[in-house]
Symmetry: C2
Subunit: 624 residues, 2 copies
């Protein structure tokens, strides 16, 4: 039965030149040629004069920087780096107690796929989710402040690469893993890979009241690699899909061994069904988590054969189809949710794989599309007319096509090797059809050289007309993988942190600034304000902190400037610490005064003409 | 005698509205108005179409990010963040042994003033220097690779803010400190500030053979704050200047107390004289450093009165003048090196301050310039015609003027509160006169909001014509202070790290990849190449490392892809480590296998179509 599924999909597998696979087909597509006339018009299209603002925010993953990059579109100017999984001294992220605790002992992460919260399948501009492939975490950011509010260490999980994608009312974000490991990361021989290793998908919920993430349940999937996922929309809203590779269950040299079979699978699951199973107790406890084992708890999860090593799987805005392709193949496949649901209903399976029913490729496939000489389809985005835009990694281009007819409408070269792309509101039920950003993996010689390692590259494509036009190229720090683009007016930021009179660590009145000692603990309730520090309102020198060597010091600092953008920093020379307090905010830094001597304190974030004078001293009396 | 100096300079002090000082005069200057026609032409001026490259590199300090930001000009696109003083997971900086050791236990820094190496007063494109205000370090970057090669912990020093500026053949970079502390940062009461605290200037040299920094000698300056410095040029090449503030020697509330006196000083010194003193043994040993005490070793150091709280001091390209201004004042002062040298020769002093001779303001001053209603001159750059461009922090504008006549030629508003500016080749003997970048401290509402804390802002000004024109605005991550702009063709990067057959840690041949155990030390001599890891060429699974819990593990990884831009990463899931190996490079990561279990290894830096398959496993056998 399994054999049949293989046969059905084998027509999709294609030969390819090893050389192009290893590095992309650089000599292939012509470079974007820009005549003087078109450069003029492109320049105007992307230029945002002072006094005007960009139309869209682009939130791009920062990969192994661990952070999130925020750009304006169409200018492609980077507005902000938001620290998420790695420490960031520019904002004191990982130094103040709240963020240090949130990072859970880790100092870096590998942020792959950001996803906005959604209401009725539309980005609602409230939260952004992201996952860390390196240290198996998930995060939620509050878009009122553009800050990370919670980080969840996802148990039983190794590299939640193909997340986060959220359901259409943010009921769940699903986090399937790129790597398979023994449950709980126990030590097991790789000889027992097929029996003892598993991929795990976690269903995570957001507690909006507390802005906290929680694992609702997990699913122990076969020991394959899960690459990308997408949630259904409208009629397919209860469903989600994710791609797999290494269904060969190879344990070494995946470059060769994970591309042996002609097909891998799309995992198709109904999360309402899984929710029901959990309610009915159809799970096992694994390290405190509710784990569904599909081979034991039947239903809700199915496999759809697809050309080998697919990367993206993308649901069309109308929720009717999902598109996936073998990443080394030329062909794109459109699958029908309706057909899939029908096949599930009829139990029209070709057999099982690892205890999970396999649907027949031909029962679920709607159409195959094969743009001539295009190679390496990775990821598909959509416009307002339902047209699809697929990045071709190997042939370095974006292909515009019609998922309803299979007609190829346009192709445009990008420089070079595009991974994902992001269309304006492109993952919603109603994309805007204005811009597409191609996230290119290799910049080659596009920009001024910065040594042996080059920047990545983003290119902005105008997709409003019939023909696509690449209108801007911008270098990018390593390394964006996925991005989402949202209409700027959907995000409502606050200007100043509201006063919290219940916060015992906050000091809002100058005469309450004080230093309290409890044994060898010293608590400073201090104020930062233009252009001075007040640590002790009663002292001869209000901006001086004096402690004894070995004291355990807590600085609770409140920024009493209630004006937008007046952020203060707090650093002690040679003490390797820096925190920031944004307008109205209170933060704490805790450390041991382990170096005796005289150390200047200063504000690290420019705040006024007298910022340079915003200093003090940290005096540490030596032990006798 | 001191009193006389005060009187001489007092004419420069000006009243100002407290409100404007505290936050800059936001309501003052009109915003740059951009008509449709001028927007068109500005758009074209800054647009660099694909296939073309920027004309200049701009190297901007990243402030408390600890890093250096590299931009292209005129596009203002950020090409690279180079990690210098803070860890950076995107490049594994601070994880591999070489950079971890270089960081010296610190995980962040506050990078203020980058400076290129010079030959004959011209940027030679070879090295870049930078200093860390937070943890008192200096760094040198090699521009062949755009990487940090050495970090020097500067002894006896607290916050080398007003550096680095280099002499015209890179004989020295001078690092004077922003803060005064007791020598060696010993614990001393602030009541003894005037007698026991000192500012220290370090003269640092570069060993070009080893790309290492060394302290040649130090000078124990009065307990004041030193803000900015510049080296002389041509006829003034043996001299250097630096600004001071808090010559009041206030120890608290500097916002008020460091602005009491009407004047501060420019410290004028002859480094050839200081060099001679050192040769003659006219110094004391302080913690192993050669420390000159000017009150004891007379000569070579002089004070020039200047309006209170100056920030920048800038030597004109012809080396004839230095320009400095009180940062709260409206007036700019041009001082003459020739007059100063003459006064020194004649010993025409008004007296001494802290044992250092004070020159008479009127003997050294060439002219005062007072642009109407301009406030807050901070820093001056130059064009090819010798014209000066001064940023006005409080009135938020750039003023173009002629240092030889004092004529004010043009003024242009910038948004908002410019600190430094950087002209094309602006600190050399021959500026290009093409562009000026204004580094603005406050973006206000210039860009899409990213919460209570906004980005900083850079603005590009076309200075080629008679009138200045602001042609581009770009948001910036916190927080550029100073920048230097160099013609792109001056920098010659390498594409691939050369093979080093003498490096015992490098593995260039696949069959030499091996794992060696010495007691509980495990040394992996591994290879990263598209698209796999080879850790042990003889093993059944070449991409697997198996150790025992508690083992001390060294991974020596060589990137055997000798192609430009094919950088590989190496991370172990949940082990909180990531290093990169650029093409041809060998790096080591050292850690203890303190978690038993099964942990995926993967390449973190996108390298090929099969990057996703470039994985392995780290198996840690639990202790019995």
């Amino acid at each position: 039965m399994v054999k049949k599924a293989v046969t059905a999909a084998s027509g999709l597998a294609v030969g390819f030149l090893a050389a192009t696979v290893f590095f992309g087909n650089f000599s292939g597509p012509a470079k974007t040629t820009t005549t003087a006339a078109s450069a003029k018009s492109n320049a105007e299209k992307v230029y945002v004069p002072f006094g005007q603002k960009d139309e869209y925010y682009l939130f791009a993953s920062g990969g192994h920087s661990g952070q999130l990059f925020v750009y304006g579109v169409p200018s492609l100017r980077q507005i902000r780096t938001i620290p998420v999984f790695s420490t960031d001294s520019a904002t004191g992220y990982g130094w103040d107690e709240e963020t240090k605790k949130m990072l859970g002992g880790y100092t870096w992460g590998d942020l792959h796929h950001p996803a906005f919260s959604e209401t009725n399948g539309d980005y609602d501009g409230k939260y952004l989710f992201a996952t860390d492939v390196a240290n198996s975490r998930a995060a939620v950011l509050d878009l009122k402040t553009f800050t990370t509010k919670d980080i969840l260490q996802v148990p039983n999980t190794s590299g939640p690469h193909c997340a986060a994608f959220v359901t259409q009312n943010t009921e769940y974000l699903f986090l399937p893993t790129r790597f398979s490991v023994p449950l709980g990361s126990k030590y097991e021989s790789l000889d027992d890979y097929s029996t003892k290793y598993r991929g795990v998908m976690s269903a995570v919920t957001l507690d909006k009241e507390k802005t906290k993430l929680n694992v609702a349940y997990q699913v122990a999937l076969p020991p394959w690699s899960y690459d990308l996922s997408d949630a259904g929309k409208k009629e397919s809203a209860d469903w989600a899909v994710m791609t797999t590779y290494n269904t060969e269950e190879a344990t070494t040299n995946l470059e060769i061994n994970a591309s042996q079979a002609d097909r891998d699978y799309i995992v198709l699951f109904n999360w309402k069904e899984l929710e029901k199973m959990v309610k009915e107790g159809k799970y096992e406890d694994v390290g405190g988590q509710k784990m569904i084992f599909p081979e034991k708890q039947k239903g809700g999860i199915y496999l759809v054969p697809v050309a080998k090593s697919p990367h993206g799987v993308d649901v069309t805005p109308d929720g009717k189809y999902f598109i996936a392709s073998g990443k080394l193949a030329p062909a794109l496949t459109v699958f029908s949710f309706e057909k899939a649901m029908e096949a599930v209903k009829k139990q029209d399976f070709s057999g099982e794989r690892n205890g999970i029913p396999v649907l027949k490729y031909e029962s679920v496939m709607e159409r195959e599309v094969n743009p001539q000489n295009a190679l390496g389809p990775l990821h598909t985005q959509f416009d307002d007319k339902g047209m699809a835009y697929t990045t071709m990694f190997i042939s370095s281009e974006v292909v515009k096509w019609n998922p309803k007819t299979g007609e190829v409408l346009d192709r445009v070269p990008v420089q070079y090797s595009p991974g994902h792309s992001s269309a304006a509101e492109g993952d919603t039920v109603a994309p805007d059809g204005k811009y597409l950003v191609s996230l290119n993996k290799i910049a080659k010689d596009s920009y001024l050289s910065v040594g042996p390692s080059h920047p990545e590259s983003m290119q902005l494509i105008d997709i409003a007309g019939k023909k696509m036009e690449v209108i801007q190229s911008a270098p990018v720090n390593p390394e964006p993988h996925y991005a989402q683009m949202i209409k700027a007016d959907k995000i409502k930021t606050i200007n100043v942190y509201p006063k919290d009179e219940n916060n015992p660590l906050a000091t809002y009145k100058q005469d309450q600034a004080r230093i309290e000692r409890k044994g060898n603990e010293v608590h400073v309730y201090g104020i930062a304000m233009r252009s001075k520090f007040i640590f002790d309102s009663k002292a001869k020198r209000q901006d001086v902190i004096e402690v004894n060597e070995g004291d355990h010091v807590f600085i609770h600092l409140t920024n009493n400037d209630r004006d937008e953008d007046i952020t203060h920093g707090f650093a002690i020379n040679k003490y390797n610490l820096n925190i920031e307090v944004q307008p109205g905010q209170t933060n704490t830094v805790e450390f041991t005064a382990d170096k005796a001597g005289t150390f200047p304190i200063y504000c690290t974030n420019f705040c006024s003409a007298l910022h340079q004078e915003m200093t003090g001293y940290f005096l540490v009396k030596p032990k006798q």
